[in-house]
């Protein structure tokens, strides 16, 4: 009776009946990536300092060191050298975000980034060094000065492992690895706990909590072609959204200009920081035609010029070249070429070993000898769960940090290497805030909580029982394709309208989904269905924000003639999308904090000379 795709089983007690596991935990952290681990350590330190006994529980749907932070290659930014200034990092971040960043938040960030990177060093992170033993920095796109700390081209890997290993030192940090969080529980406007599924057995657990930190990462998997790990599905965003927290600035989705054709695997921006150049199929450095020139001499990369322009501009230039027929082909992908050959074998193997390995393995090309074919791929979710400057959402005690959050740092476009620093700065802040709150409040009453846990149980049981016609694979494919077509590098109303309709249609079809695998232990099909359900909610917010933002700003570029410019009169505003159980999601506009730097033109290359930024 086996081997067929459909495996029907009788219900073990865990989902349909039986008692649910329950524990009381002061601080629950959802997510074991950089942000979650940093928050856990900060909470532990904070509690120690206050002499308060707190239970801290970190849940993650994968073992922490499998989290997506591990893939980050390039580095983490902080003002470091004597020539650099805090003001310059502030200006780069605000201008890079096309004035849609919360300036008070940016100010806090640039002041705390360096301290956090030093802290990582004290915990053993192997940052690359200068001959005298001090920390080395490298150039990064959109940053005026070299200020990016790096650990070869495996910065995220080293940061994540350092944080994970350091967390082992704290017995008060408990972990539930391979637990999939299904929902948060909210009682009287304050967070009261989380409900999670133990992946190994299918058992449900209710954790009663005083503070909950969401650190669930971005949502790049909404798009077909992306640089993200398979687990980056926006779960935390969807949970907060369904409980009434706004998703903010979701229309800003960063394309990275250099992904490998086919897989989307990332080729880090550090390649260009080290001097790599981009050429079209004619071997021409086309970026000089898109306001990023004049051409910089080979081997002399210059910040904010040419290949070191910001990501949105580089991805847009690719699109223009593609339209003009000047891109080459690799497999069935249109591509341009990243040429590193002039850097020489020794330098490449020392500074970019992982890139050499990836190019060799995935597309069978040795960067020492041949240019690497590349194309833009969705990379980073600028928007997310709206929080205040202290990482707290409008639900009391619910915090968000890292890529899932919109604390307001990135505005309309994130600068490369700001987000690894963000994880540390705001992961820590969230952890400290959560610990302080947990010291002062009591657990919520159980009955209201149990009701919500029960509702999750029912939802799961329905999903298991559903006898509909729909299959998650088909729905997912339609979603990611439609997002790419309608909400890609360039956007116009018609395409977005189509995508929005497709999403709503898919949401309706999702109710008719049928699982093939009805088992309890490691039901990865169930997980993928749940992730798809999360994605469908977030996709609507992304598309709605994009459709209604009738201007071009940062990563959001409109094709319609009237909308090709930035429009500060009408759109110097954050978009906020609210969930609506009864019908389509609702969009609102929110003022932006620009109290430190008035909006100015965002220019790079020679055009940027003399402009204050």
């Amino acid at each position: 009776m086996m081997t067929s795709g459909s495996v029907d089983l009788i219900w073990p007690a865990s989902i349909t009946g039986g008692a649910m596991q329950q524990q009381d935990i002061d601080i629950v952290i959802v997510g074991g990536g950089g942000a979650g681990l940093r928050a856990a350590i900060a909470a532990a330190e904070s509690a120690r300092k206050e002499n308060s006994q707190q239970r801290i529980m970190l849940l993650s749907k994968v073992y922490p060191m499998r989290s997506h932070t591990v893939s980050a290659e390039g580095g983490a930014a902080a003002v470091t050298s004597d020539e650099d200034t805090l003001q310059a990092h502030f200006d780069d971040t605000v201008a890079g975000g096309d004035w849609l960043a919360e300036q008070g938040v940016v100010d806090y960030f640039i002041r705390h980034a360096h301290r956090e990177l030093v802290q990582m060093e004290r915990w053993g992170c192997p940052w690359s060094r200068k001959p005298d033993g001090s920390v080395q920095v490298r150039r990064f796109g959109g940053m005026k000065t070299a200020r990016t700390w790096f650990a070869a081209d495996k910065t995220g890997f080293h940061m994540l492992h350092t944080l994970f290993q350091t967390s082992l030192k704290y017995p008060e940090i408990e972990r539930l690895d391979e637990y999939f969080v299904l929902d948060i529980a909210v009682v009287d406007g304050a967070v009261a706990g989380v409900i999670a599924l133990k992946i190994a057995t299918g058992e449900l657990t209710l954790l009663r909590a005083k503070s909950v930190i969401l650190a669930t990462g971005g949502a790049g998997r909404l798009f077909r072609f992306n640089t993200n790990a398979g687990i980056v599905t926006g779960d935390g965003m969807a949970m907060a959204f369904r409980h009434g927290v706004a998703l903010r600035d979701m229309e800003f989705v960063q394309y990275h200009p250099t992904g490998l054709p086919g897989s989307g695997v990332l080729i880090t921006e550090a390649c260009r920081g080290e001097g790599g150049i981009l050429v079209n199929k004619d071997g021409y450095r086309y970026l000089q035609d898109y306001g990023l020139g004049p051409e910089t001499p080979l081997g002399e990369p210059q910040n904010k010029y040419m290949e070191l322009g910001p990501r949105d501009k580089l991805s847009q230039a690719f699109w223009q070249e593609q339209q003009a027929g000047r891109t080459g082909k690799f497999g069935d992908s249109d591509v341009v070429y990243l040429d590193l050959r002039h850097l020489g074998k020794d330098y490449l193997h020392e500074r970019l070993p992982f890139i050499c390995e990836l190019a060799n393995v995935f597309i069978n090309i040795d960067p020492v000898k041949e240019p690497i074919p590349i194309r833009p791929a969705v990379h980073y979710t600028m928007g997310g769960i709206e929080t205040d400057a202290n990482c707290e959402t409008c639900i009391k005690g619910l915090y968000a940090a890292g890529e899932c959050a919109s604390v307001g740092l990135h505005g309309a476009n994130r600068l490369g290497s700001n987000s690894l620093s963000e994880l540390l700065v705001f992961g820590r802040l969230a952890g400290e805030q959560a610990s302080q709150r947990a010291a002062t409040v009591a657990f919520a009453d159980s009955p209201a909580l149990e009701e919500q846990a029960q509702a999750q149980k029912t939802r799961l049981a329905q999903l298991y029982d559903a006898q509909g016609e729909e299959n998650w694979v088909e729905l997912k494919r339609e979603l990611v394709l439609s997002m790419e077509t309608g909400c890609g590098i360039y956007r116009e109303a018609e395409g977005m309208q189509d995508t929005l309709e497709t999403i709503r249609n898919l949401q309706a079809r999702y109710r008719n989904i049928r699982l093939q695998d009805k088992s309890q232990a490691y039901n990865t099909e169930l997980m993928q269905c749940l992730e798809l359900g999360h994605g469908l909610g977030i996709a609507e917010a992304t598309c709605l924000g994009a459709l209604e933002r009738k201007e071009s700003r940062g990563a959001h570029k409109r094709l319609e003639e009237n909308f090709q410019q930035r429009d500060d009169v009408n759109y110097l505003k954050h978009s906020q999308v609210f969930f609506n159980a009864e019908g389509p999601a609702q969009l609102h506009w929110q003022d932006v904090d620009t109290h430190l730097s008035a909006p100015a033109e965002r220019a790079y290359g020679d055009a940027g000379k003399g402009i204050k930024q």
Binding site: M1, M2, T3, G5, S6, V7, L9, P12, E45, V62, Y63, M65, R66, S67, H68, V70, S71, R111, R115, V118, Q119, E121, R122, W123, G124, P126, R129, P131, D132, G133, S134, K154, H161, Q165, T166, L168, K169, D177, A200, A229, G230, I231, S263, V265, L266, F354, V361, F362, I363, V473, L515, Q516, D517, S519, Q520, A521, Y522, N523, T524, E525
Partner: protein, 245 residues
Amino acid sequence: MMTKKLSIQRYLPEQGNAPYWQDFDVPFDDSTSILDALNYVKEELDGSLTYRWSCRMAICGSCGVMINNTPKLGCNSFLREYEGPVKIAPLAHFPVEKDLIVDMEPFLDHLAAVQPYLIDDSRLIDDNEEGTQTYKQTPAQMEKYKQFAGCINCGLCYSACPQFGLNPEFLGPAALTLAHRYNLDSRDQGKKQRMAQMSREEGVWSCTFVGFCSAVCPKNVDPAAAVNQGKVESAKDMLIGIFKG
């Protein structure tokens, strides 16, 4: 497109059966990895097939499996590399939980046992901005441990290690390498504490120097070298212990 036959070892615990083999035909080209092939099976042929993956770029360490009896990462092994049919089974020497998923808890416990973090007195920096200083560590000092810091915790070396196969209490190549990595770090002062773990029976001395661990490591970490150097350190440590009596 060409197709290839994949033989996958299945095990569905809730059905109470013993593991069995199941064949699938999978289309492939030059760029199809074993992980792509598994995803194809799951999405097109059998939604119940269960395995781990995440980054699909050989850095998260999730996707280790036995491919034709050799431990490998599914995401950086390619169908083009195999002539005949391809046999995929869960990682050897770990308890199998379901299909290609094994229990990684013993592995994680071993990692945690060696105190894999910097041990020193000034680890936390104070909030005073002026006080933020890094240690100095020259490139030469870093070179000493850098290779051993590249472990992605994939567990392939445990599947390759006959000693771990015989005795799951053996700390094993990755954990011993991690301990050695911190011992070699110029910023660390915890070697003494770690030596106690490394020198016990399940530590370095369980290793019979087969060296297969280094051969299968997808990240060139060379755990065999780390374990061997660990033996030298452990021997010195014991000698000193004897002299001090």
